[in-house]
């Protein structure tokens, strides 16, 4: 390490993204473990209120990942945050348009999709919109 590298402060944007990546993968590992455990419990005779509690248990690691995401968004570089927020705005708009479109199609008796579809559409649209938005700042 050179002297100038030693003198440089740690970049908070890079540190925030590294911390989020660690928390994200730990959260995903915890999510998979909780889903497997809760599925096993639900398929093996769990009854009553505990069935609902166990079915909702995977939300805990998801909430942890979400909280980490919010923290990362608050700590990252302002341009990166702007890019993500613009991409999320586009994703929200795309999802709303698709939801309205499919709502009309339901009137024509098309099957009602799972609520998971909304989540998938938001994430895919966000992922697709991010490079599109960041392009204008290059």
């Amino acid at each position: 390490m050179t002297k100038s590298e030693q003198a440089r402060p740690t970049n908070p944007t890079d540190a925030a993204k590294r911390l989020y990546q660690i928390r994200f993968w730990l959260g995903i590992a915890a999510y998979v473990a909780v889903v497997l455990a809760s599925t096993y419990a639900l398929n093996n005779g769990l009854t009553g209120t505990w069935r609902i509690v166990v079915a909702l248990a995977p939300l805990v690691p998801i909430a942890v990942v979400f909280a980490s995401f919010i923290e990362m968004m608050q700590r990252i570089d302002e341009l990166e945050r702007q890019i993500h927020l613009e991409a999320l705005a586009i994703a929200a708009g795309v999802t709303a348009m698709l939801a309205v479109t499919y709502g009309f199609l339901e009137v024509a008796h098309l099957p009602r999709p799972s609520a998971w579809c909304t989540y998938a559409v938001v994430m895919i649209a966000w992922w697709a919109a991010t490079p599109f938005v960041s392009r204008k700042y290059r």
């Binding site: 970049n11 908070p12 570089d77 302002e78 341009l79 586009i90 204008k136 700042y137």
Partner: protein, 81 residues
Amino acid sequence: MVGGDPVRIAEIPVVKNRIRVLRAERDWSQAEVADRLGIARQTVNALEAGKYAPSLPLAFKISKLFEKPVEDIFDSASVEE
């Protein structure tokens, strides 16, 4: 969207600045400036290219880093009225 710019999402306020010149005078890389300001290298690139107008706090940090008044770094005449 065949060729040319894609659909315009929003107008980017262009603010010309002297960051590239000031950085070259100090023989700093974009990555070094980014680390000193605590921002991403891509943001330094966008600032230098005039593609991104920084927030007021970031503009003051840039001013402090280069030890120049904000108005000596950013060209107020380049902002459309």
